[in-house]
Amino acid sequence: MSGTAAGVDARLPIRSDLDLVWVRQHVRQAAAAVGFGLVEQTKLVTAASELARNTLVYGGGGEVTTERVSDGRAAHGLRLTFTDRGPGIPDLEKALSDGYTSGDGLGLGLGGARRLVHEFAIDSTPGSGTTVTVTSWATRPPRPREELR
């Protein structure tokens, strides 16, 4: 497990599919450092993989920042922010629904990633890029996720 940044807070480039491996490894280590259980780690890493691939394929590359967050009381979490300067998403509602895709893939990217995290926010401006911010919390018992159809 050597070779990646030791800390939780980091900024990683997403320029090629090799970078996806780094993003997954870093998020895995950061989630473990914050105190996530195995299932929650796996969910967040998978969400990160989906979102990083979106950034690469649809956004033409970009970056992700990871940061430790706290709710001011006992809970600790991890926030990931994916940013690209790509064409943006014209219809967010549609992009979040399953089965929607503008490239190759199963079209689960955004909607799927949303189901794997506790908080999900997307900001997209056609022509100037997309920012997706996701947050998950290391909690026991599991915190209920947003119920989605």
Binding site: G3, L18, W22, Q25, T46, S49, G105, L106, L116
Partner: protein, 134 residues
């Protein structure tokens, strides 16, 4: 941050032949290119060695995203066209939970608890009539 990729991530996955079954063991984090390469290697191996089954052991895989999930589904579908059955074995609980939450239930994929169970499954006649009790 060090940007040299570990050897394992870029190296091709070995495809072993065991009688009339191909055995592939996936480990760690798979790079997209490696997964695509594997898909081609399996199709070629089936044609070359005329095997009737493919077992993919994923007990060492820590995450499966929709990309890798799609690759596995395509390997199974492609093998079927070449008259070989594919069984994916040893998926970890955390990976299974995540795939389901992601919305990827992979209904076309045959699964087994372990490589041994997968080999047993492939040893059974192709379309074993499903015996219902009573």
């Amino acid at each position: 941050m060090n940007h040299e990729l570990p050897r394992a991530a870029a190296a091709p996955v070995p495809v072993l032949r065991l009688g009339d079954v191909l055995l592939i063991t996936l480990q760690g984090d798979l790079h997209d290119g490696t997964a695509e390469q594997l898909q081609r290697d399996i199709a070629e191996s089936i044609v070359r060695s005329r095997v009737t089954g493919v077992v993919i052991d994923i007990s060492g895989v820590e995450i499966i995203d929709s990309y890798l999930g799609r690759v596995l589904a395509e390997i199974a579908a492609g093998s079927r066209l070449l008259a070989a059955r594919t069984v994916v074995a040893g998926m970890r609980p955390a990976v299974a939970i995540t795939l389901v939450e992601l919305g990827l239930t992979l209904p076309g994929l045959r699964t087994a608890l372990s490589t041994e169970a997968a080999l047993e499954l492939l040893a059974e006649p192709a379309d074993r009539p499903h015996r219902e009790p009573r």
